[in-house]
Amino acid sequence: MNDATPNDLAAIRARLEQARGPEYWRSLEELAGTPAFQEALHREFPQGASELTDPVSRRTLLKLMGASLALAGITACTRQPAEKIYPYVRQPEELLPGKPLFFATAMPLDGYGSGLLVESHEGRPTKVEGNPEHPVNRGATDAYAQASILGLYDPDRSTAITYLGEIRPWGAFLTAAKAAVEARRAQGGAGIRLLTGTITSPTLGEQIRALTKEFPALRWHQWDPAGRDQVRMGGALAFGEMVETHYLLGQAAVILALDADFLACGPARLRLAREFAEGRRLTGGRREMNRLYAVEPSPTLTGSVADHRLPLSATAIHGFALALAAALGVPGLPPPRDASAYAGWIAPLARDLQANRGRSVVVVGDEQPAAVHAIAHAINQALGNVGTTVVYTDPIEVSPVDQLASLRELAADMEAGRVETLFILGANPVYTAPADLEFDRHLEKVKQRFHLGQYLDETAALCQWHVPEAHYLESWGDVRAADGTVSLIQPLIAPLHGGRTAYDVLGALGQQAGQSAYSILRAYWQARLAPEGGPAFERQWRRALHDGLIAGTAEPARPVKLAVLGDRVAEPAPRQGLEIVFRADPTVHDGRFANNPWLQELPKPHTKLTWDNAALVSPSMAARLGLANEDLVELRYRGRRVEAPVWIVPGQASDSVTVHLGYGRERGGRIAVGPGFDVYKLRTTAAPWAERGLEMAQTGRRYRLASVQDQQAIEASRPVVRSATLEEFRRRPGFAHEMAHEPARTLTLYPEHEYKGSAWR
């Protein structure tokens, strides 16, 4: 189902112009009533017509399957083979065979942890849920955490320590790593580099600090491709120091989301989603809902629940923020360049925000440039929101840095031959580094390359040494959640493939060789919680492991002082051409979950695409350029080219093309390799998230995409969504049930059959 041609789009527009009030539809195909959609509807729930002529219909298939199943039952007419029972030799305490146990642990993602409660059956983790006692999760989880259980049992994970592809013992790795480090001791460790993802773990931070004390010239770089550079630098721009910004939506009556998908992205997403939902619920005598304005280039989950939504290209949001600041009278900011595109929006929005001073909040997405974050800080300050809906704390990270600059520096040093030894711990820079850094080419200039990772991925292929990394369900560790709460990672199972953690590797390089990650972690926390040790510590430690967190470690709010922003937040000179917007994929994220079939199978919000990414364009752009769904186009951006299929998305900003990271993998598992196209090849340090200057050219070829949007579609007359205004809801709280489509009782003259007991008796 793919043929929303330009003609259809004209028809759709004509039809929508006649519509009065909200009208809901499933897809452009349904709206246009294309033959393809009609046929699908007919096949899915037919009046029988297409079934009779189709040689292999669903009904035939079910018949054959039923027959096979019945025949398979004949195999039951045998004696059961003898089965063995292997009881424990010494049964672990608390364990009751047949009953699950639950352990609190935490899953790190982009450095930040989420607190989980994991079910375990006889020593095997089986199900992940949120830890109800965790302040960020409050019992909830996201798709990544749910699917991580499958990642644990992934047969494609790397299973052995290798040197040039040959299996080596851990001892050989230790000898080689230690020798590489010792060789540079006289130079103070110059030439040794450490590359990790974002690190919030206090223990890992302490290990790295100890290592840099021992080797003062050793340099540590951090890189997460979907990291929060802009948030960090925006805070630094506004306040002259690194801070962590926390939004508290529970208090907010008016929320403005500037390209911020806070319900689905960012380390605090679970807490924000909960608070937002509580602000919408009219219970306990509440009469008013919060009001959400969303301005965004591409439809997101946040945008879809907004009361007012404005599709605006990502690079224009800077001007929007400045125009809003000007309307609110925020002092010391430059004027916007051209506010005509959203002129009707600014005045009412400014009035609404003014009317809710101290109860409003401007939330900016992680992908927006630092200047927009700084402007939002100034607006929130001017509206008196600081302290109620926005609070600032010290950074949660061990060492907040501009990661893009950090990686650029590493690449430059590698190119200049200044890097002798590189330890890459849990990162995949060969795949994820911006294309203009040419990380893969420079990496080969490094003499000794060590890689710790869960998969034999693109980076592992270019490193001499590879060590399989333990999954978080196999590791000891700690990580901080979005509010700073230290969440303990405790293993549910011994490493399936002898995996190691960054704690093991860093311990071996420093003075903790031979110590387990557990003893390193425990020693760190003993020194901080109860240095005297003994029962006092034991009690606290067991409590912390049971709860999954160390109480009282959330960062306290602190005052900040807004710097004069002035022209430092002025809009950059406008560029011409289409806009390309990079986003982390909603299911495979930055590519790290590409080998997880549950996440591949999970339809992405709005597009409902599975197993692929696509270049998302607006219907008006499709009409202008003559594009249809599944047309393969060539994306050209600053001399780089990638071929991608097109998917038309209503609600997309008219001249923005959104592409998602994480696909087109070359290594990293049987599932990861294959689907989608790699947009990291278009991503540069100059434009990590959005920039204009994209060109699109038809290739004349097509590429099949699997969208589940129109599957299971029933008759078109039933409402897809039942909606009412707040006023109607107050009058009739049960409106949604009243709108339900009640099927007619059976139309028969006979009395209805009365079912008694089991039907098969």
Binding site: A76, C77, T78, R79, Q80, A82, E83, K84, I85, Y86, P87, Y88, V89, R90, Q91, L96, P97, G98, K99, G757, S758, W760, R761
Partner: protein, 215 residues
């Protein structure tokens, strides 16, 4: 003209009878075989790695079922005791017996004793010990007089009609909760009356829907 010989009459009658009784007999035979101890493995004494006698431990020493099968009241699985449970006593009693060498070896080498399962339900059946025990189904109702078995064998068919017999008419088999673990319990003469009373008292429902067991 005589087309058939006279003997054809006999052949005809015999073949008719053979058809009716033969096919019927085959069906009866199939049922008999299917429920026979040959298929169900009832009364089939299994070889075990240790010559463990329930008779000695239960009838001889008076050890309660739950000393070893610890989770029978709380979990679906009754529990096979860890080697540690054996060694609680056998580190003192018969500590040198050659019969117990597999037990000591297990404890020494930290390797499980590989028992052969005696009561083996098919994998498509869900069975929960705890609910049965808590609703007054005695151990011996299903497992027989284990206290008289030197080596354990199965005494019932463990087939579906056997399960349903009790699920349809629980009053025929339930006993007071405090008698569940008694091996020598004899149902009283007025079992049906007592059963009805217990069914009401223990709130026992006659669960016969497919998904009760085939989940």
């Amino acid at each position: 003209m005589q087309t058939f010989r006279r003997s054809a009459n006999t052949v005809f009658v015999v073949s008719l009878l053979a058809l009716v009784f033969g096919v019927g007999g085959l069906i009866v035979l199939a049922y008999a075989i299917q429920g026979s101890p040959y298929v169900t493995r009832a009364f089939d004494v299994r070889e075990q790695p240790v010559q463990f006698s329930h008779e000695r431990h239960v009838a001889g020493n008076g050890i309660d079922c739950r000393y070893c099968h610890t989770s029978v009241e709380t979990s679906a699985f009754a529990g096979i005791p860890p080697t540690k449970t054996c060694m609680n006593c056998h580190s003192q009693i018969f500590a040198d017996s050659p019969y117990l060498e597999p037990v000591r070896a297990s404890f020494r080498d930290d390797r499980s004793i590989a028992w052969t399962r005696v009561h083996d339900l098919p994998d498509f059946v869900y069975f929960d010990h705890s609910i049965h025990v808590n609703k007054g189904v005695g151990c011996s109702t299903c497992h027989g007089r284990v206290d008289l078995m030197p080596l354990v064998f199965q005494v019932e068919t463990l087939q579906m009609n056997w399960c349903l017999d009790c699920h349809r008419n629980p009053e025929k088999y339930v006993r007071p909760r405090d008698q569940v673990f008694r091996m020598d319990y004899q149902p009283p003469a007025d079992q049906i009356a007592l059963g009805r009373k217990l069914v009401a008292e223990y709130n026992i429902r006659s669960l016969t829907s497919c998904s009760t067991c085939h989940r």
